[in-house]
Subunit: 689 residues, 2 copies
């Protein structure tokens, strides 16, 4: 039996918020703008059928501790604490139905369901609309179902949590038919079901078993509980909403507020709107549960659902002071904003869900996060004209970095935290071309014509300052490296993927960039540029093919004699195929042979059958594995690797990893970085369009 003890995001769209739940203990809760779970006790429980005043709840909390000792220092007042009466449902009696938009736990007579559809977000350029309001309402729907039909007693049912915000105490909301508990103006859970009561205390027993039911809430406590009584012999469903709200400034560097502020003035507004739309949300979620799993086997359906959730937990839809929209994907535990090498992986999913967000990200890269550099050969101080590129990210932890600079890149390094100038240039060029070609937004491509020309010029320069010596592959480093070396997005792997120059992965990606941009230029009537790009693509292809060694594989770094072999050599194939363009047959064949040869245990597979991106590194990234699986199957004609899928599921569900919801970097199957991460939606390529 597959473990159900894993955290998953349950998030509205664009609120950088998640009701994360599923891992045992106080390891989830109402996470708002966090790098990981909120680690709050969360309570959903039911009175036992045969013991009054005893409760069983889903095991998302630890046993309560008695805080009264801080107030009652000589311990005269034991009368104030309550014996623990809320126990965990045993995991063996809990079942969980997990889909992309509906997550349901059942235990005894209790069902607990979190419902999070992901509606398309209308392009905000089209103006305000009810659809836009509904899409970005920062609320999450919860249902609690109690089947008391076989019980002769009425039983209490409750939902609540303990707040972890250090600035604001837990409060009760009681207005306009809404009853809830929350912290500050930022987070709350509420219901409009009738017959509920709300309490605040140090422990749920103090509310549920209060010796004085008429007591006012004990606001010193940080546990807020909503409860009611289910009549004997009845079956009832209660609805709740969890709401998130950032009232004022959301980010510094670029001052913004959340886009939902157009429609909502308080977390109470959010809760009410979410509850009012419950039926619609449930229907939407059901539809999307199916569509996100369409054609997928159990393992892939699980991983895709998980990845989609983690993506939405990272979405942050902002509005600048001038009213223009700003779409941010936060980088999981790292919280970097709109990391461009994530953008390109999330591209396929975003183009499916909300194509305008891709355009929005690319525009801001041009407006604020573009730069011009000089470049140099390794070990040589001579500076040559480089050209346009883009920063790795736009900032971190709700703070936008200064123009032209990421939060991440530093000079003087050869490894992690060095510049990714060449790769980010390719990333922007590919994203822009794919966006334009896939959506047919020719107006935007026309607007970006000069930028695209500058991208091409910059790519050429980075190949070789001397046109005669160009081979289609990056050979120089940005002078921003101050004598260090550019790296690739695989910053934490060994040199097989770390070094940018002559990197096979980047060579194929560069080939794809030239091919795509050539198509764009052709569409725009820029014949000369199209020709140049096409020639460069051909050179790149020739260089790559020339690197094939006698065993049919290509080395990770071309021409430097490294033994490492890479799966992501094939990454660059995806883009042309995705926009419906033909890939070059010889290149496809060569990469097919390469992959066939390396894709075995001891080379590019772990012992459990999971894919190993580099033969010389134990660090393998699930987002990239998903991507390469799709390429292998859709372009190279490989059969789906079910053993690998199983291994990858096992990685995610390993008790050491499952706290972090969906994670990317797996060191021999252990989440070691890029935890709680949005990038896994490359899995969207598993789905047939």
């Amino acid at each position: 039996m597959q473990s159900i003890q894993f955290n998953a995001h349950h998030s509205p769209v664009g609120a950088f918020a998640s009701l994360t739940l599923g891992f045992p203990g106080a390891k989830g809760g109402l996470g708002h703008e966090l790098k990981g779970p909120a680690d709050e006790p969360f309570y959903v429980g039911l009175e036992e059928a045969d013991r009054e005043g005893y409760y069983q709840a889903l095991p998302f909390f630890e046993a309560a501790e008695d805080k009264s000792a801080d107030y009652d220092v000589e311990g005269h007042n034991a009368e104030f604490s309550y014996p623990n009466r809320v126990s965990h449902f045993a995991w063996v009696v809990i079942s969980r139905k997990f889909a992309a938009c509906t997550d349901e736990w059942s235990a005894g007579d209790l069902k607990f369901r979190i419902v999070t559809p992901y509606p398309a977000v209308p392009d905000p350029a089209l103006g305000d609309s009810e659809d836009l309001k509904n899409a970005i309402c920062p609320g999450v729907l919860i249902e609690v179902e109690v089947d008391n039909t076989n019980c002769q007693r009425s039983r209490k049912v409750f939902l609540g949590y303990s707040g972890s915000d250090r600035y604001n105490g837990v409060r009760i909301i009681d207005q306009d038919g809404l009853l809830g508990v929350g912290q500050g103006v930022s987070v709350a859970i509420a219901t409009h079901s009738e017959g509920f009561k709300a309490g605040v205390a140090w422990q749920p027993e103090m509310v549920l078993n209060s010796r004085q039911p008429d007591n006012e809430p004990f606001l010193i406590g940080s546990t807020g509980i909503l409860w009611t009584i289910v009549p004997a012999g009845e079956k009832r469903t209660y609805r709740f909403a969890a709401g998130f709200f950032r009232e004022g400034t959301a980010t510094t560097g670029i001052k913004t507020h959340y886009a939902y502020r157009r429609f909502f003035n308080s977390v109470e507004d959010v809760l009410t709107h979410t509850l009012e739309r419950a039926d619609e949300l449930i229907a939407q979620a059901k539809t999307q549960d199916t569509s996100f799993a369409q054609g997928l086997g159990e393992d892939r359906a699980f991983m895709h659902a998980h990845a989609v959730r983690s993506y939405y937990g990272a979405t942050e839809f902002l509005e600048r002071e001038d009213g223009t929209p700003l779409w941010v994907i936060n980088e999981g535990e790292y919280r970097m904003m709109n990391t461009l090498d994530l953008t390109i992986d999330q591209l396929f999913f975003e183009l499916k869900m909300n194509p305008w967000t891709v355009r929005n990200e690319l525009d801001l890269f041009v407006e604020r996060y573009a730069y011009e550099d000089t470049i140099q050969f390794p070990g040589d101080d001579t500076k040559y004209p480089g050209g346009l590129s883009f920063s790795h990210d736009m900032g971190v932890s709700n703070n936008f970095s200064s123009p032209g600079n990421s939060s991440y890149e530093q000079g003087g390094l050869k490894g992690c935290f060095s510049y990714m100038t060449a790769e980010q240039l390719l990333n922007w060029s590919i994203c822009a071309s794919v966006y334009g070609l896939k959506t047919g937004d020719k107006g935007w491509l026309q607007d970006k014509q000069e930028t695209l020309k500058n991208c091409l010029a910059s790519m050429l320069n980075r190949d070789n300052p001397d046109p005669a010596q160009r081979n289609g592959v990056i050979s120089l480093d940005s002078s921003r490296c101050f004598g260090g070396a550019e790296i690739t997005t695989y910053d934490s792997l060994d040199v097989s993927l770390g070094q940018a120059r002559n990197n096979l992965y980047l060579a194929v990606k560069g080939w794809a960039a030239y091919k795509l941009i050539a198509n764009v230029f052709a569409d725009l009537g820029l014949t000369q540029e199209a020709k140049t790009a096409t020639e460069q693509a051909a050179k790149a292809e020739a260089t790559i093919l020339a690197a094939v060694e006698p065993d049919g594989t290509m080395p990770a770094i071309i021409g430097e004699g490294v033994p490492a072999r890479l799966i992501p050599a094939i990454e660059g194939l995806v883009y042309l195929d995705y926009v419906g363009l033909e890939c070059s047959k010889p290149l496809v064949e060569a990469l097919k042979t390469h992959l066939t040869t390396v894709l075995k245990k001891g080379v590019c597979k772990f012992e459990d059958g999971g894919w190993k991106l580099s033969s010389t590194s134990d660090n393998s990234w699930l987002s990239k594995i998903y991507l390469c699986q799709a390429i292998a199957e859709n372009i190279l004609g490989f059969a789906p690797d079910h053993e690998a899928d199983r291994a990858h599921v096992n990685w995610l569900l390993d008790p050491a990893n499952a706290y972090f919801a969906w994670s990317d970097q797996m060191l021999a199957g252990k989440a070691c970085g890029s935890r709680y991460y949005p990038r896994g939606v490359t899995s969207t390529l598993w789905l047939s369009e």
Copy 2:
């Protein structure tokens, strides 16, 4: 030598903020709306005179840990970490000059000074003014002085901290001549001294010893550092400001924002204004350093300065949506707001500094936190008319409780967290009378005439429903106790001070309330009420005097045969004296005898000479000790108890306590509750007016 290793608040007025520093390690920092220190590393250091690239800093941080492993999971990139080069100045070479408004550390060639004058806050009813703006500007001035006159080398000097807010990353402020580091829109440190640079990194060495000085800030780090170079042979003073800012909603329950929002739109505004007023702030602080210590010996000057600081760190000056002011004192680690039994102790200090704040607090108690109850005798369910009283507090942790309810009081209890109905009635009545009589604000007393009448009626009822049986002392409990028993503010002590009925401490306090309210009624021409109150005072006095036992002491609970003896029996004497009214000689004499008899080791003194409020409890509260010391000396003619002062200083400086700045509840000298607390300003009564 007295220890200098203690945290102290360094706070603006009314911002609920404190740059807390002084305890070893990462145990202070920029605390904003917290229940204790922010526990942030804080850096102020200087390059060593004879070793380039090595630094000594005040020991307010732990050795830096290397966080790059989360990103560089296979450890290929050791190049990114820097060897630790910032060491602690040894405590033996550090000296500290600590006064109420200036706190200065010296170590080697470095001086570090935090300057926090506490200007009077003009009554906001008088409208906006430059004085009001200056008084409530939420900024703190810092000076760093480097004496490099004896050094042939230029040396780097730096100031910075690591931010602990979980929502916002550390950013750099660089605008309009202001250079700073901070988190979100809420907290920042900045300078307008020329020649400074700002960096962000994981450790200060990455900024100070950067291998690539042209690198952009590494915003993934949470350590922000401002640094410059002090030329060889020069002496320089640099000024910084620490700023605090809550942009939007500050509290729920009653929706407010900070009053400083009238004048400041950003933390940058605050920083600029603070720096522009530096000379003025320094001069003010010097004057107040003297006035707060006037006539006090070293121990008392220390304790008073410490208490004043902790008071200001708890001040929160808000404005309601209708523009009316709302002054809050937060209850230290408990964060309860405007706890009425603290208000009465802080009364003397507030009347000295900002009398309108007392009126403001009392008004809100009448407007929202008054209630009417019934009352009953212990063990008897019969309900009698009670009358008006006031809740214990107005809420907790920036959440105002519902009308008529505190965050604290619960029914069904006999100890901690029970109701304090009778005492809070006395507290409001005394505060109102003292405010009116001391300030001469007769208009306000007239406005409150009905409330005061209701207070008297409620006091009478709580004595005995049958007028013939009244003895001037509380004999009934509020029905809000649901069969429990009312307690006193000494909630955490044993029954000697815990029980309200027939409590000696409350009896004397009640006597004072009757006397004061009688004077107010007389002033208002309410002869009948004045007469009733006077008669009740006489009855109370008679009851108290009748309780004197053969040894000259009075028991903690009148007529219940308890052995406990109390120092706070004398508390009630302070109010009449404070407003210049005569206390009754027989009562004064009796209490003098009582105190003389109990004030010895083994009864109401600890072995170290510190005062023990109750002979039967080890829990003694410094705020109340200070108050009772002042009463003993000013009213009962005792000589100052220097041995006790010394003991009390030692309590505060005990390494187990010194982290919490000023704390109140000391269990045999160990801070066990009411830590980081505002109530110590009863020490203001040590000063001659």
